[in-house]
Subunit: 251 residues, 2 copies
DNA sequence: TAGATTGTTAATCGATTAACAATC
DNA sequence: TAGATTGTTAATCGATTAACAATC
């Protein structure tokens, strides 16, 4: 997450487009909760209702919403449609963002079809792959196009978001091409740390990392008192021959 | 993330199996970086080297590693293999965790094939779906089985991790079944907030939320000074007829 | 010994939460 | 007016970071 902005020193001047990252990450959750309430014909909701629907506590929700403005009514609650629109506008999904997906393997294929992706606010304008065997294949109502056409597509369709679903190997190169072509937001599914220049935002979705975090907690359940673990080892003395993990964790 | 633990009050008694969540979330990243270094034949690395490979700063990396113990050598750095094993053990991927995937649509299908999933430490023991048309289908060397067999499979294979790749609708019910069957960690790809009892850990991967977070920042790039936005609206007065977002954001 | 680098301390920053005055 | 609920304040908690003493 890289942000090139002019921040003068001094007390944090809130209001100057300063919504905390943690709050930004929850706005889409609130948006979804509001949509669900709206679909159920609910016109008004209290912070408590909304918080329950979003899976957070109400204090946090009210604090989060307070960064956007005063959209509620004391003693009453929030108008669902009104708040939904305000949040959608704040996030920026009242307009449509053009997206390209690069790497049409299993995952890219799945994302191309994924309806949740078709969430209002985003439009997949191209599926790209460098493999000639894939180019031309139809997926839904789209056709896989040659990665070589990237620059042209980004310019024509004013693409600002790129999704990388290639293997780890080519991911950095793909990323560089995307950035050079003018893409300024990247969602990375490849299991590598990508580096991007300032001004380009990058987010990462990583399957095996999520599983490993679960494993960590899982380990601490089964064992409980049974595993005091980390048996206060003496400093290693050049010893490198340790029980092997088995060849290579990580993808 | 629910943790049922006995925490006495007083100063934070570190060492009592208390690795901060933020650190836990980075351990898999370090593990992957170490594996990459190891694959490149690098035997020793400084915190600076490692931090670069992991995409963090070296102070944070050293602080994180300090929660695990003293695995480095002052003046020298870290033995790559040794540290890799220690982190793998701490995370719990020196053993194998049995995983079931529920919901074999596009995404479940992709995950079933996803090699990154096959990361050492995890073993997919079943692909489950309730749709009779899918049951029996072969995916790689596995066959889709009936969701009705869940309980049996969880018991037989001692499954502790469940991955939910169903649509939003059935996700909570699937989750309840998983929990009732004895699964205590869940990775949820369905765009809903799942509720689970204490003692069950849940993590969420949400495509459209990631895209929306990117959109938020993207919006603040293009516009910059051009969008003072949030035009200090008067409190709404029951007005519900606002420009529609278009039907429903969120899946 | 001199140089390098860890492990830890302490300062700072950001996020969460409870509580309540403002106000519908 | 009495009851409900927001928006905000202030306290607390956790995470990040710089700096450096310890030590190889």
């Amino acid at each position: 997450m890289t942000r090139a902005s002019s921040r003068r020193p001094g007390p944090p001047t809130r209001t100057e487009r300063g919504i905390p990252e943690a709050t930004v990450a929850r706005l889409p959750v609130y948006l979804r909760a509001l949509t669900a309430l709206s679909d159920n014909g609910i016109a008004t909701a209290s912070s408590e209702d909304l918080a329950t629907a979003a899976g957070v506590n109400s204090a946090k929700l009210r604090k989060d919403l307070s960064y956007l403005g005063s959209y509620g009514t004391r003693g009453v609650g929030y108008d669902v449609e009104y708040l939904r629109y305000q949040i959608a506008r704040e996030i920026g999904v009242t307009q449509d963002w053009a997206v390209v997906i690069v790497g049409i393997g299993n995952l890219g294929h799945a994302l191309a079809n994924y309806s949740g992706f078709g969430t209002r606010g985003f439009r997949i304008v191209a599926l790209l792959d460098a493999d000639p065997d894939l180019v031309g294949e139809r997926i839904g109502d789209m056709e896989v196009r040659d990665f070589a056409q990237l620059e042209e597509i980004v310019e024509t369709d004013r693409v600002s978001i790129g999704v990388i679903t290639t293997p780890a190997g080519p991911a950095q190169e793909v990323c560089d091409r995307l950035v050079a072509a003018g893409v300024t937001s990247i969602l990375n599914f490849a299991p590598v740390v990508l580096s991007v220049p300032d001004g380009v935002d990058i987010r990462k979705v990583d399957l095996s990392i999520e599983l490993q975090i679960l494993a960590y907690h899982e380990q601490r359940k089964s064992g409980e008192a049974a595993l005091p673990q980390v048996p206060e080892l003496p400093a290693m003395n050049g010893l490198t021959d340790l029980p092997s993990v088995g060849g290579g964790v990580g993808a």
